[in-house]
C-alpha cells in the first residue's frame, strides 16, 4: 500500500504546487507572498486534525485496551508536532512581510504554540515511562485534556481581536477565495492528509515491530529479508 500512497502523494503535490505557485494569480493585497498559504494552511489544518486523531485513538486505547489504537495515537504525535512546527514557522515567514513582525502574542498564534507544547509533552511523556502500555495510558490522558485547546485555536480568530485573519474556507458561507486559488489549496490539503497516512503507517510498523519482536509474524518477515 505504501508505494501507491507515495505515488498518489507525488501526483497531488505536483498538481497542488503547480496550481499554487504558477497558475494561481497573485493576491491583490498581498502580491505573491500569499502563496505561503499552500504550505501554511494545510499544515495548520493537519496540526488540528492529527491532534484529534491522536486524542480519539488514545481514548479508544484507554477504554477498550486496544493495542493498535495506542500505537496509532503515539505514532501520530511526532507527525502532528512536525505539522504544528511548520504552521508556526511558515506563519512567521508570512507575518514578517505582511504584518511587519515575525511573532505576536495574539490568540491564534499563542494557542497554536500551546498545541506544539502539547505534542512535545506527549512525546516526552511517552519516552519517559519505561513500560509502554503504562506510557500509552498516561499519554492518552494528557492528549485528552489537551483537546480543549482545539476549539480554542479554531475559534480564536472570532473570540478575540487578533492580527490573524478570520476563516476564509471553513465557514458556512461560500468561501471568500477565488476557485483558482482555492482548488490548489484543497489539493494540497488532501496531499498533506495522504502524507500523514504514509508517515503514520511507517511509524506504526516500527512501533509494532519493536513491541511484538518475539512474535511469529516477525520471524516470518525476517526470514524473507
Amino acid at each position: 500500500m505504501l508505494p501507491w500512497l507515495t505515488a498518489l502523494l507525488i501526483v497531488l503535490l505536483a498538481y497542488g504546487l503547480y496550481g499554487g505557485l504558477v497558475m494561481a494569480p497573485a493576491d491583490y493585497q498581498q502580491g505573491d507572498s500569499f502563496r505561503i498559504i499552500y504550505i501554511h494552511v494545510p499544515s495548520a489544518w493537519m496540526s488540528l486534525f492529527v491532534y484529534v486523531v491522536m486524542a480519539i485513538s488514545g481514548a479508544i486505547g484507554l477504554i477498550w485496551h486496544i493495542k493498535l489504537a495506542e500505537i496509532v495515537s503515539i505514532s501520530s504525535a511526532s507527525i502532528g508536532a512536525a505539522f504544528t512546527f511548520l504552521a508556526l514557522i511558515t506563519g512567521s515567514l508570512w507575518g514578517k512581510p505582511m504584518w511587519g513582525t515575525w511573532w505576536v502574542w495574539d490568540a491564534r498564534l499563542t494557542s497554536e504554540l500551546i498545541l506544539l507544547f502539547l505534542y512535545l509533552g506527549v512525546i516526552g511523556l511517552y519516552g519517559a515511562i519505561e513500560d509502554k502500555r503504562t506510557a500509552a495510558r498516561a499519554v492518552a490522558i494528557l492528549a485528552l485534556v489537551g483537546v480543549v485547546n482545539i476549539p480554542i485555536i479554531h475559534y480564536s480568530v472570532e473570540w478575540w481581536n487578533t492580527l490573524h485573519q478570520g476563516a476564509t474556507v471553513t465557514k458556512f458561507d461560500k468561501p471568500s477565495i477565488h476557485p483558482d486559488m482555492l482548488i490548489p489549496l484543497l489539493v494540497m490539503a488532501v496531499a498533506f492528509k495522504v502524507y500523514y497516512g504514509i508517515a503514520l503507517l511507517m511509524r506504526c510498523r516500527n512501533e509494532l515491530l519493536q513491541r511484538e519482536q518475539n512474535n511469529r509474524w516477525v520471524d516470518e518477515i525476517l526470514e524473507k529479508l
Partner: protein, 56 residues
C-alpha cells in the same frame, strides 16, 4: 521564469517557507525508514545469537 523565482519581491519568505516545509516533511519520512532498517537489523542479529546459544 525569473519573475517566478522573484515572487514579486517576496522570494525570501516564499521560498524559505517552501524549503523548510519540504525539508521537514522529507525528514519525517526518512527517519522512520532508517529506524525500520535498524530495528530489522537488530532483530536479525538477536535471532542469530539465540540460535548459536541453543546449538552450543
Amino acid at each position: 521564469m525569473s519573475d517566478f523565482w522573484h515572487m514579486g519581491g517576496y522570494a525570501f519568505y516564499v521560498w524559505t517557507s517552501y524549503g523548510i516545509g519540504f525539508l521537514v516533511l522529507i525528514i519525517g519520512l526518512i527517519k522512520p525508514l532508517m529506524l525500520q532498517k535498524k530495528i530489522l537489523r537488530e532483530l536479525v542479529l538477536k535471532r542469530q545469537r539465540n540460535q548459536r546459544v541453543s546449538k552450543s
